[in-house]
């Protein structure tokens, strides 16, 4: 459907071009065709104009890591609802993890996801294939076939690849395909059934803790194997100071490792489990909405993660969107499922770092756009950029709009968020995928 | 609203002495009597009666204290003041004439609770009631055997008894809690 869209008067912020100026942007036939001074766009028939005065216009956000739960767990989320949530959060591309049922370790399952995304998905969905069959950690999947189907990388996420032997084989194999091995770094013997970070809060609450070393051991192992094999390694949801150090050091030595961090790990500490926010009762909360793997850590870790973002050690921000039903969460802390439904709060939550001066806006946007695009590569064209000629995936946001999070308003089926009731400053006002407006904020 | 003094220390003393005489008269002496004061101010009043009786008969009547918090018929009221005082009755009350002693006699509910408490402690031969002030407005069919002073009141008035042992002075006052006045 031919469609022309003019985004007028917004502040165009595109880290891929180091562009930061107030301008108009023209979209023709699903591509960005022109950026220039206000009012000087070439005339086009059938033109819809979006007035973006006072708003910021940037490339559509790319989420390297989310769980759409379909096939198999449709009570938690479907591709339809998950992508709607992504659109609300300003994400135009999401990479979905393969821990579905059946898992994405074979052609039929990946085809299913692709077809469903095409007919019911509201944003671009790029699949990630499993490293091992059924994520059992024993036998490699047919990686080449999965690559041909368009997976952007391989992961057994939810589970680590425990055997170093299998991991090194996976890395060797994937190297020929030029696709990254995306690892969930957790030494399961050490984490051993823990529920939250092993620290003073777990001692206070009487909960079994997951030591930071459980992540760091696997990060170190994976880096050593990446060095050994020369493969591309991408480390999911980095959460500790030690992990950041390891990745920094590895990059200094030229090892092909990239890393991502979640919005919640950048803004919440383990103390969030103790207190419900806003404080509802004068007692401990044991808030399962703050139960996530890897767990929320400490102020020191947050400082290191932010530093890692700023100096490039951490390449991208990814949500690890993990929706769950209320049955899975409305129970004893030890029994609750791990995960945060994060697509719809990610951007606003990250803006708190901008507003308090910890991170500048251009860096933040780059971690959501051109940096993840680099990791995905050019298989899907030019993502994460507003360069004319590239696909019109665009996010428009108001950096000053104040709003209060209400999980009841989520498009996602997963209402499990630790940010319920939080007041944020910064909201996505419109999301455009391939020139189509897939989300518009109608509130005032 | 000023408190109006209805009984002076001397008035109280004379009333208690008279009550002591009446107790002895009715029970034909001090044998078998146990004085049980209701917490809080009934306890020193009971002790004073015992002292008077000692002076009159040369006989030491045992004195106990009774806390009825656990026998109230309305437990939600304890939310306002959950403290329990001592119940300490030093002798077995079975077959004795127990004289309950309280400062103000009003609805009768405290006395009903006190009787339940006493019966849990043993089987008295009789339970009699001595009060310093009877202000009327009974809600239960209970009567006092010995009354220091009858003071008819209206419901929005309050009788306050001060005893030296607890309040550093002796007096009985009337307080009106009528909200229309200042």
């Amino acid at each position: 459907m031919a469609h022309n869209l003019l985004i007028s008067g917004g502040r165009i912020l595109d880290p891929s071009q180091r562009l930061d100026k107030v301008a108009d942007l023209l979209i023709t036939d699903s591509k960005i065709t022109w950026i220039g001074d206000k009012g000087t766009a070439p005339h086009k028939p059938d033109l819809t104009t979006i007035d973006a005065t006072g708003l910021i216009v940037c490339p559509g956000f790319i989420d390297l890591h989310c769980h759409l739960r379909e096939p198999g767990f449709e009570d938690k989320e479907t591709i339809a609802t998950g992508t709607k949530a992504a659109a609300k959060g300003g994400f135009t591309t999401v990479c979905c993890m393969p821990n579905t049922n059946p898992p994405l370790d074979n052609q039929a399952s990946v085809d299913y996801v692709k077809k469903t995304a095409e007919t019911e998905g509201v944003v671009r969905v790029l699949p990630i294939g499993c490293i091992t069959k059924a994520r059992q950690g024993k036998e490699l999947t047919e990686m080449s076939e999965l690559a041909n189907l368009g997976v952007i990388g391989f992961s057994d996420d939810g589970e680590p690849v425990t055997s170093s032997r299998i991991m090194s084989l996976a890395m060797d194999y994937s190297r020929a395909l030029g696709l990254p091995i995306i690892d969930h770094c957790e030494d399961k013997e050490l984490s051993d059934g823990g529920f939250m970070n092993d620290g003073w809060v777990s001692a206070r609450l009487g909960l079994k803790g997951i030591p930071k070393a459980a992540e760091e051991i696997m990060v170190a192992r994976d880096i050593a194997l990446a060095q050994l094999t020369g493969a591309r390694l991408h480390i999911t949801h980095v959460s500790t100071e030690g992990s950041v150090e390891l990745v920094r050091h590895a990059k200094e030595r030229g090892i092909a490792v990239t890393a991502e961090v979640t919005p919640h790990h950048l803004t919440l500490t383990e103390e969030r489990i103790m207190d419900s926010q806003p404080k509802k009762h004068n007692q401990l909360a044991y808030d399962t909405n703050a139960k996530v793997n890897p767990p929320l850590r400490t102020k020191e870790d947050i400082a290191a993660l932010i530093k890692g973002l700023k100096d490039g050690t951490i390449d991208a921000i990814a949500t690890d969107h993990a929706p769950h039903t209320s049955v899975d969460k409305m129970c004893e802390f030890g029994l609750a499922a791990f995960g945060i439904s994060g697509l719809e709060t990610a951007f606003a939550c990250l803006m708190t770092l901008v507003h308090c001066g910890e991170l500048d806006l251009m860096t933040l946007i780059s971690k959501l756009t051109c940096e993840p695009a680099k990791i995905i590569g050019t298989k899907y064209g030019g993502l994460g950029t507003l360069k004319p000629g590239c696909c019109a995936d665009i996010t428009i946001f108001d950096p000053s709009k104040e709003w209060v999070v209400d999980s009841h308003d989520f498009a996602s089926k997963g209402k499990n968020t630790p940010f319920d009731g939080y007041q944020f400053t910064g909201k996505v006002m419109a999301t455009i995928v391939a020139g189509e407006i897939v989300y518009r904020d109608n509130s005032k | 609203m000023p408190e109006r003094i209805l009984m002076s220390p001397e008035d109280m003393q004379r009333a208690l002495v008279r009550v002591a005489h009446e107790i002895l008269e009715r029970n034909k002496g001090a044998q078998d009597i146990v004085l049980v004061g209701m917490q809080t101010r009934g306890v020193p009043l009971a002790e004073r009666l015992a002292t008077t009786i000692q002076g009159l008969e040369g006989f030491a009547v045992p004195v106990g204290s009774l806390d009825i918090s656990l026998y109230r018929d309305d437990i939600s009221s304890l939310a306002l003041k959950p403290i329990i005082h001592r119940t300490d009755v030093p002798v077995d009350v079975t077959n004795k004439q127990v004289v309950l002693v309280d400062d103000v006699f009003y609805t009768g509910r405290s006395i009903r609770a006190a009787m339940d408490a006493l019966i849990d402690l043993g089987r008295p031969q009789s339970i009699q009631l001595a009060v310093l002030v009877d202000r009327g407005h009974r809600e239960l069919p209970i009567r006092a055997d010995y009354v220091g002073k009858n003071i008819p009141t209206s419901r929005n008035e309050e009788i306050k008894v001060y005893v030296k042992e607890v309040d550093s002075e002796d007096k009985v006052t009337l307080l009106s809690s009528d909200k229309e006045n200042d």
Partner: protein, 336 residues
């Protein structure tokens, strides 16, 4: 302040200033971390009155008549459950005891659903013991009636800590300035945690002593972050016991050795068992407490368990009085 001669008989407690509390503030009793000193002293005052009732021939008062107390135990327990049930019955409440291992809960009913059912049956107070730390905090978000935590996972056991403090005070006449050594599996102990709160509030110095694998890694920073300067950690039992006024060995579960936390029980016994010889390092009047049930021969020698300084049986009696006091306070405040 009156001090008393060291002796293991019950002494008159020093006269505390009368508690200056108005209404009882806690709708639930989940842990001692949010209690004030005055509130703990009030519980003791009321427990004194309840203890008097327990000396009568008819150990009953009608205070909670018409109220229903439901005990809901997800973990087996003899003494705590019986203690709560007797406490409720002594106050003339109706009691219902639910053994979660045998009921619909075992069939997979969620905690929240079970509690709502119990509440719909007319429970005024639910006394719950649960395997998972934090379960009562989830539970109380979904019920209108009151809850007393009879032990949640590793986290809290407030009535036990209160009866421990009460027992200590009855014997030693005071709490402030005493030194208490809690020895054993601190990591998994809700008794240790609640006693840390309770003892700190009452001015008792606490030494937590355990082999390193049974101490939570975050314990030191827990002490710092929660501002507990009178709590310290020891791995040497001799240091912990030195001049202690109170010694509390904790039950060591056999499973701890099986899950690899200890090389052998034998080594634990050699290093940590409370023997008469070790006990002599403490003050001569030192009391030996134990939350029960004891593993005689493991954490405590039989001689000490039944020796002159042991007040373990008295803890059980005091437990009923304390629990009567808690039920009285909770059930009375219901109509706020």
């Amino acid at each position: 302040m009156k001090t008393t001669e060291p002796s293991s008989s019950v002494t008159t407690p020093e006269a505390f200033p009368p508690p200056s509390i108005g209404a009882w503030q806690h709708r639930h009793i989940l842990d001692l971390d949010d209690f004030t000193r005055e509130e703990i002293e009030l519980v003791f005052e009321i427990a004194d009155a309840m203890a008097e009732i327990l000396t009568r021939e008819v150990k009953k008062v009608p205070t909670l008549r018409g109220k229903t107390v439901v005990t809901l135990f997800y973990e087996p327990s003899t003494r705590t459950r019986a203690s709560f049930e007797l406490a409720a019955k002594n106050l003339s409440a109706d009691t219902v005891s639910l053994d979660a291992s045998k009921s619909s809960i075992a069939k997979g009913e969620s905690l929240v659903d079970s509690l709502r059912t119990i509440q719909a049956l007319g429970a005024d107070v639910i006394v719950m013991r649960h395997l998972q730390s934090g379960a009562p905090y989830v539970a109380t978000q979904y019920i209108d009636c009151s809850m007393i935590n009879a032990g949640d996972g590793w986290h809290a056991h407030p009535s036990q800590a209160l009866l421990d403090l009460y027992t200590i005070r009855r014997h030693l006449g005071k709490l402030g300035g005493l030194k208490a050594a809690i020895i054993g599996d601190i990591m998994h102990s809700r008794v240790a945690r609640s006693n840390v709160w309770g003892m700190t509030i009452m001015g008792v110095k606490v030494v937590l002593c355990a082999p390193p694998t049974l101490l939570p890694r975050g314990l030191n920073s827990f002490i710092t972050n929660c501002k507990l300067p009178n709590v310290s950690i020891e791995t040497s039992v001799e240091s912990a016991l030195e001049k202690a006024d109170v010694v509390m060995p904790l039950r060591l579960q056999i499973e701890r050795q099986q899950s690899g936390l200890l090389p052998t029980l034998r080594e634990y016994v050699q290093l940590y068992q409370l023997t008469e010889e070790r006990l002599s390092l403490a003050k001569p009047h030192a009391l030996v407490l134990h939350p029960g049930p004891m593993n005689e021969g493991i954490e405590i020698s039989p001689e000490v368990a039944h020796g002159a300084q042991s007040v373990i049986e008295e803890q059980v009696t005091n437990g009923v009085a304390i629990r009567m006091a808690l039920l009285y306070l909770i059930a009375g405040g219901k109509n706020k």
